[in-house]
Amino acid sequence: MKLLSAGWLILGTLSAFGAGAASREMSEIPGGVYRPQYGTKDEQVEVESFVLDNYAVTNADYLEFVTENPRWRKSQTPQIFADAAYLKHWIADLDPGPDSGPEGMSPVTNVSWFAARAYCRWSGSRLPTLAEWEFAARASESKPDAIGDVDFRQRILDWYAKPAKPPLPKVTDGFINVYGVTGLHGLVWEWVSDWNSVLLTGESRVDAGLERQLFCAGASAGSADPSDYAAFLRFAMRASLQADYAVGNLGFRCAKDRSPN
């Protein structure tokens, strides 16, 4: 099931940290159906098979990207694509510094959606969709859908109880799920392509209001599983973002459609 992305293999070796080969593996996520966190009780989301990075994109990976693409260096990026916090933990345009973790192997954070998207395109891939990400994140070490397991949920929630200061752990830390993907939980939040499909400002005069209940009445009416608090936290996080926001605990990984064969 594990595939190596061709896009990764042809990349240059500009990284100051040498080749971070671990971060270039991808795994296939066989498609399936799941009930989304909110919506009607019988709503189902079907996810087609796709391929997902095994690890979040690291600072070392990102350094290669900005080295090749000066436009995405922190001093060069137009404000509309990234706010003032963009790569703020880096010392300079091409110097990730100590907060990027040993050999730059911490997940890159403080990156906007535009930046994450540009990176994935450059590497011959794309951001995963929200549905794809949520589908893959239901998996524990042993089974594809562990969301019903109290222990699994509690483990995810426990991450929120442990404040994380830079440098963040290495992307290879954490459990490997049944697909071979590491760090979907317990490392950083991750951008998805359609993060702004979550309408949660709760202001009915602004929104069509379909998901208001998630915002204020809070985590009960209309949601598929009101006790899946971890999912609520993820959706709230997405709802709070704008595309140019760079946040200290928010990184990303890339995905691809399954190759034709």
């Binding site: 916090a85 109290v150 949920r153 509690q154 929630l157 426990d158 991450w159 929120y160 109880a161 442990k162 404040p163 994380a164 200061k165 939040w189 949660l200 400002t201 709760g202 202001e203 009915s204 005069r205 602004v206 998630l214 915002f215 204020c216 009445a217 809070g218 985590a219 006790s227 608090y229 609520f232 936290l233 959706f235 709230a236 996080m237 709802a239 709070s240 973002l241 704008q242 926001y245 760079a246 946040v247 200290g248 605990n249 928010l250």
Partner: protein, 470 residues
């Protein structure tokens, strides 16, 4: 640029939402000032100005590890670094410009719903902020009163359960009657994966929160936040006002001060005044203002009179009043009327789940005993072991205690009633059986024996077990 848009939205929102009469208030607003924010139990200074002004409030959300009970840590989500959040004080008619900052090291987005705000979401819709960002919105303080504020980001229950609540006081134009002391007391219930007393960093248990099965119910964010050296202070003859809030998330408080009667209660912190009140309800997400004059010295115990919460889960605080006794009000010689609901009968409490760790040596036993003492004994015998004169005998340098260790074990095992003499003073009261494990009793007694000039020694669980079988 985004900030300026936000402000515009907020103003737009005001313009469209407020009735014309209220908009006219805005015209009277003169000057501007930064709000003084205080951590509990302090209250910001009285507002003396007689006009409305623009008040700028800057509140920072921090997610940080703190102590919820002796040896027990918890990751609190806070408005201003403390639980409860900073006390905000404004005046009726003020225009409040609110800055909500979400610290960059935080993990999750937050917002604020102030019950003092007239408008959808109470400000929540205008203040939804991811880590490393700041939101600004404005509102008019239309209605005087004491209001709860809290985070309303999904999952709302979890944000509140982690400590995201506080109080905002909107002083009426006339102002409340002047008092000598003002304090900020706010109750909250907490849901930890570990049982009450389990040490180390505890995480939030959504299972218990859903069942409303709190491990801790506390005033001002932790067990002991208002006891011992942290007790509230007053002097005989002074008037005391408590701004009492309840953040919940689940439990309603039956707020009571043992040994005092509230002269005036502003019920639910509204305009209605009730007089001569013993216990007042403070709903989750609500508040009350209680005023009383302290006539005699002593330690007055603040409790949630759902009493297991007070004596077993932490909802207990103290007001220490110093000054001359007034025997006309209280003789000090008669039977105590301290509240012990079950009278002389022996009570048992369910044995908590076995502690994961047992004391390996005397030093550990003393240390663990210190924690257990804080949870089980301190309410009556006090942190310094001095007890309360006339009511609860001292353990410090106690002849009664040191004379007979087995008698001490029996007392903790089975409780005690009837008159005894300790250090020359008679005591006639009731001590319940606390239903503690052999290990815990051994730890507590070893701690007590090795504290406050007592004779030392060690009590083992085996010794306790032997006495239990007798």
């Amino acid at each position: 640029m985004r900030v300026s848009i936000l402000i515009t939205i907020a103003w737009l929102f005001l313009a469209t939402m407020l009735p014309a009469t209220h908009v006219s208030h805005a015209a009277e607003v003169k000057g501007e000032e930064h709000a003084v924010l205080t951590a509990a139990p302090s209250v910001p200074p009285l507002i003396t100005r007689k006009h409305s002004t623009k008040v700028i409030v800057e509140l920072e959300v921090r997610e940080r590890v703190g102590t919820i009970a002796e040896g027990v840590e918890y990751t609190f989500w806070t408005f201003g670094g403390t639980v409860p959040g900073r006390f905000i004080r404004v005046r009726e008619g003020d225009q409040v410009e609110f800055h909500l900052k979400n610290h960059p090291d935080n993990k999750v987005p937050h917002n604020i719903d102030l019950h003092a705000v007239t408008g959808p979401g109470g400000g929540a819709t205008s203040s939804f902020t991811p880590p490393g960002h700041e939101s600004i919105f404005s509102f008019a303080a239309l209605n005087p009163g004491l209001y709860v504020y809290h985070c309303a980001t999904a999952p709302v229950g979890m944000h509140i359960a982690n400590g995201m609540y506080g109080l905002i006081l909107v002083d009426s134009k006339k102002g409340l009657p002047k008092v000598d002391r003002e304090y900020y007391v706010m109750q909250g219930d907490f849901y930890t994966v570990g049982s009450n007393g389990d040490t180390g960093l505890q995480t939030f248990s959504m299972e218990k929160a859903l069942r409303e099965d709190a491990e801790y119910v506390v005033f001002n964010g932790s067990v002991g936040a208002l006891t011992g050296d942290h007790a509230l202070q007053a002097e005989v003859g002074e008037t005391v006002r408590l701004y009492v809030g309840n953040g919940g998330p689940n439990l309603v408080s039956s707020f009571h001060v043992i040994g005092e009667i509230f002269d005036e209660v502003r019920i639910e912190a509204g305009d209605a005044i009730n007089r001569n009140v013993q216990t007042t309800l403070v709903p989750a997400g609500g508040a009350a203002i209680v005023d009383f004059k302290v006539d005699v010295p002593g330690t007055f115990i603040l409790v949630d009179h759902s009493i297991f919460r007070a004596f077993n889960k932490g909802a207990l605080g103290m007001l220490k009043v110093t000054g001359k006794p007034n025997t006309a009000v209280y003789s000090g010689q008669q039977d105590q009327r301290i509240y012990l609901p079950e009278g002389g009968a022996v009570q048992t409490t369910p044995e908590p789940a076995p502690k994961p760790k047992l004391a390996a040596n005397k030093a550990e036993r003393i240390e663990m005993g210190r924690g257990a003492y804080q949870t089980n004994c301190v309410a009556c015998h006090q942190a310094d072991g001095q007890g309360i004169a006339g009511a609860f005998p001292p353990l410090a340098k106690s002849d009664y205690l040191n004379a007979d260790v087995n008698r001490a074990i029996d007392t903790v095992l089975s409780g005690l009633q009837g008159e005894i003499t300790v250090n020359g003073e008679p005591y006639n009261n009731v001590m319940p059986s606390l239903g503690l494990s052999d290990e815990k009793i051994a730890n507590i007694l070893t701690y007590v024996l090795n504290s406050w000039d007592n004779d030392g020694g060690e009590v083992s669980p085996a010794q306790v077990s032997k006495r239990r079988k007798k």
